[in-house]
Amino acid sequence: MPLNCKHLLGLEGMQKEDINSILDTATSFREVLDRPIKKVPTLQGKTIVNLFFESSTRTRISFELAERRLSADVVNFSADSSSVKKGETLKDTARNIEAMKIDMVVIRHSAPGAPHFLSNVINSVIINAGDGSHEHPTQALLDMYTIREKFGKLDNLKICIVGDISHSRVALSNIYGLKTMGAEVAVCGPATLIPRYIEKLGVTVFHKIDDAIQWADILNVLRIQLERQDRVFFPSLQEYRKYFGITKERLLKSGRDVTIMHPGPINRDVELSADVADSKYSLILQQVLNGVAVRMAVLYLLGTRS
C-alpha cells in the first residue's frame, strides 16, 4: 500500500497504517538479505544522494547498502569534503545537486528541522537520517521492527529509553512511533538529561535505573557523550556508570528477563557493560541487520510512490 506521505521527515504524526506498511515491507526485504545474491532491481534508474552534514558510520553505510541493494544509483556527499566549508548554504547545495536530476535525498544534519526546510526548497523526496536532537525516524522504525520480530507485537509492550534524552533524536522518534503503535514508553536518566515537559508526550519518567528495569520489557539504551560534562549536565562518567549504567549484575539482581537495545555506537563500560552488550539480553546486532531491510522498505515505498 502506498504511503500517505511524500517524504519521511519524522514519525511525529505519521499514521499507524504507514508504520505498519513500512514494517511489513521490511519483512520481505529482510528475506532478500539472507539470499546469496542480496540485490533486487526495484529502484533501478533512480538516483539517490546521501547528504551527510554530520559524521556517521553505521547510518550512512546502512543507507548506502540499502540503496545499492535496491539497484539505485548512489552519490555520497559528506560535509567535511564539501562546499559547505566554503560557506555555501544548505539551500544552494541542495538546489545545485538537484539540478543534476536526482530523485531522492537522504539527509543527516545537526539542525532540527533541516530536512523539513529542504522539503520546502527542493522537489526531491527527502528522507531524514537524523536532524539534530529532533528525529531519526529510520532508527526508530528499525527498533520497532526488531521489537516486533522478537515479541510478535508492539502494543502493550513496555519500552524504557535510557540515557541522554535531551540530546537524542533516537528518543523522540521512538517515543512518537511507539506511542502510535500502542506501546507504553518511559524514559530514564539524570534530570539534567531529560527535557522538561516530556511527560506531556505520554511518557513516564524514571530517575532510578532499577525502577526502570523493574518496569520495562525492553531497555533502549542511548550513548552518553562525555562532551555533555562541559555544560554541567552530569558530574562524571564514573558517577553516571554507577547510577545509570546497565550491568549484568544489575539485571540478574532484578530477576527480570529484560531485552537490551542500543542504537550505537556503544560507550562500553559507561552506559552498557560488555557482559550485557554481547549477551543473550542484547538485540544490538539484529538492530543493525534489520536497519538495512527497514531502510530498503522506506526507500522502496517512497521511491516508487508516484
Partner: protein, 428 residues
C-alpha cells in the same frame, strides 16, 4: 503649504479629546480645528471619513542597522517603513557597527533622519550603556545625552554585571534618561533557539527558559529599588516578568516595560513550522505567557507597545532554523496587529492603544508632549479601525521582508502620518 484633513475622529486621551472634526494645517502648524472647515484650490484637501487621528505614534525599539549593516536596513528605508506603518518617531537601538557610543554618531543619526522626506519621522537615538556594548566600562553618557540620545541600552545583549548596571543606573539618573535592559541570563539561554516548553521538547530544539529573562529582571529590580533610578525593560515576554513588574510598580519603583506585537500575537506553537521568521529573541513564548502579556497590557503593567523591528536579509533567513539570525521586522504590522489582537478582541480601548503607542513612550523617554490643538505643530498618526487587509511583504518599505505575518488578515490599519509639515499616506 496648507492641508485640510476632513472628517477625522480626533482622539487624545491626555487632553480628553474625543470628537469629530476637520483639521487645517498651515506650514506644519495646526491653524484650525473645527467642523465643516471649507477649503479652496490652494489647499490640499483629503477626506478621511471613518479614520481616527491621534498624537503621533512612536516606536521606541527599532533596529535600523546603519552604520554597518546597510544591506539589511538603512536610516532611509527604516524611516520610510516607519511612516508607512503609521509612526512619526522612532528610537533606533545602538547595536550597529560601530555601535552608537559617541556624540558624533548620535548627531549624525539625527542629521541623517532630517534629510529623509524632510524629517517626516523624528529619530531619537538610544545610545550604548557600555563601551562596545561589552558590559564592562560605561559609555560617555553625559556627552551622549547632550548630543541627543534619549536613553541607553546594550540591546541585543544584557548589561550582565550587576555592578556595571548599578553604576549605569546612577549615572543615567543624572541625565534624566532611562537604562533600557535587554533582560537575558546568557548562561541560561546559551545555545537556545526557542522557548523552553512542550514545543521545544517535541521538536528537540535547544531551549531558552523563561527564567533567563525573569532572573535578570528580579535582580535588576533590587538595584532599582535601592537606587530609585528609572529603568525600562525591553521586549518583556513571560508571565513571570509581568508579575515582577506588576509587583515593582505596586511598590512605586520607577520601572516601565514594553511588549512587542509578535509576543502578544503568536505562541511557540508557531515554531513547529520551522519558519525562521518565528525565531526571535526573546523567543515566542507559551499560550499562558501570551495571556499574561495581554493581562499586563490591560491593567497597565505593560506601558508600551514597541516593535523590536529587526531587519535581516532574505538569504540570512533562508537557512536552517538553528543557524538563522534572531528577529523579525515589525514597523509595518505593529498597528494592524495591535488593533486586531487588542482592540477588536476587547483587551484594550482605543484610548489605551494610543497611550501605549504615543503617550506613554514619550513620557518614559521625557520627550515633549504632543497635542492636537490649534497653534501646535501637527504631529499626527491617522488610522482606521475597520479596514480589513491582508499583510503583503511586497508593500513594505523596509529593505527586509522577514515577517511571519505575510498573508495574515488584519482588521484596522495605519492610514497616514503628518509630521514636520509632511504628509505620508500609507501604501500598505
Amino acid at each position: 503649504m496648507q492641508y485640510l484633513l476632513k472628517n477625522l475622529h480626533l482622539i487624545d486621551p491626555q487632553e480628553k479629546i474625543d470628537t469629530l472634526a476637520d483639521i487645517l494645517i498651515t506650514d506644519g502648524v495646526i491653524e484650525k480645528i473645527g467642523t465643516r472647515i471649507s477649503g479652496n484650490k490652494n489647499i490640499k484637501e483629503i477626506d478621511l471619513e471613518g479614520s481616527f487621528a491621534a498624537p503621533g505614534f512612536i516606536d521606541m525599539h527599532v533596529h535600523f542597522r546603519e552604520p554597518g549593516f546597510e544591506y539589511k536596513e538603512t536610516i532611509e528605508t527604516g524611516i520610510h517603513s516607519a511612516a508607512n506603518g503609521g509612526f512619526t518617531a522612532v528610537c533606533p537601538m545602538p547595536n550597529t557597527n560601530p555601535p552608537v557610543e559617541n556624540e558624533a554618531l548620535v548627531r549624525w543619526l539625527i542629521d541623517q533622519s532630517k534629510q529623509i522626506h524632510d524629517g517626516i519621522v523624528d529619530l531619537y537615538p538610544i545610545a550604548a550603556v557600555t563601551k562596545g556594548r561589552e558590559g564592562k566600562e560605561l559609555a560617555p553618557m553625559l556627552e551622549l545625552a547632550e548630543a541627543g540620545a534619549v536613553g541607553f541600552s546594550d540591546d541585543g545583549s544584557p548589561v550582565e554585571n550587576a555592578e556595571v548596571l548599578r553604576r549605569a543606573l546612577e549615572y543615567a539618573k543624572m541625565t534624566s534618561r532611562l537604562i533600557i535592559q535587554h533582560a537575558e541570563d546568557l548562561n541560561l539561554s546559551k545555545g537556545g533557539v526557542m522557548n523552553e516548553g512542550f514545543v521545544s521538547t517535541s521538536l528537540g530544539m535547544q531551549p531558552i527558559p523563561a527564567a533567563s529573562e525573569e532572573s535578570v529582571i528580579a535582580r535588576d529590580l533590587k538595584l532599582v529599588e535601592y537606587l530609585m533610578a528609572p529603568y525600562h525593560i525591553a521586549h518583556i515576554s513571560t508571565s513571570g516578568s509581568v508579575d515582577l513588574v506588576r509587583n515593582a510598580k505596586s511598590k512605586k519603583l520607577p520601572v516601565t516595560c514594553e511588549v512587542t506585537p509578535h509576543h502578544f500575537t503568536m505562541s511557540d506553537e508557531m515554531v513547529r513550522s520551522f519558519d525562521t521568521n518565528t525565531k526571535m529573541n526573546p523567543p515566542l513564548r507559551s499560550k499562558d505567557d501570551l495571556e499574561a502579556l495581554k493581562e499586563g497590557l490591560k491593567d497597565g503593567t505593560i506601558d508600551v507597545i514597541a516593535s523590536d523591528h529587526a531587519p535581516h536579509s532574505f538569504d540570512e533567513k533562508q537557512v536552517e532554523f538553528l543557524f538563522a539570525p534572531f528577529g523579525i521586522i515589525g514597523l509595518e504590522t505593529a498597528i494592524g496587529l495591535a488593533l486586531t489582537e487588542l482592540f477588536h478582541k476587547k483587551i484594550l480601548t482605543i484610548q489605551q492603544i494610543i497611550e501605549k503607542f504615543s503617550i506613554n513612550p514619550r513620557k518614559i523617554l521625557n520627550l515633549p508632549k504632543i497635542k492636537i490643538a490649534e497653534g501646535e505643530r501637527a504631529n499626527i498618526t491617522i488610522f482606521n479601525l475597520d479596514i480589513e487587509w491582508i499583510v503583503d511583504i511586497e508593500k513594505f518599505k523596509s529593505k527586509s521582508k522577514n515577517s511571519p505575518f505575510h498573508g495574515k488578515k488584519l482588521k484596522g490599519k495605519p492610514v497616514a502620518v503628518f509630521n514636520n509639515g509632511q504628509l505620508v499616506v500609507s501604501d500598505l
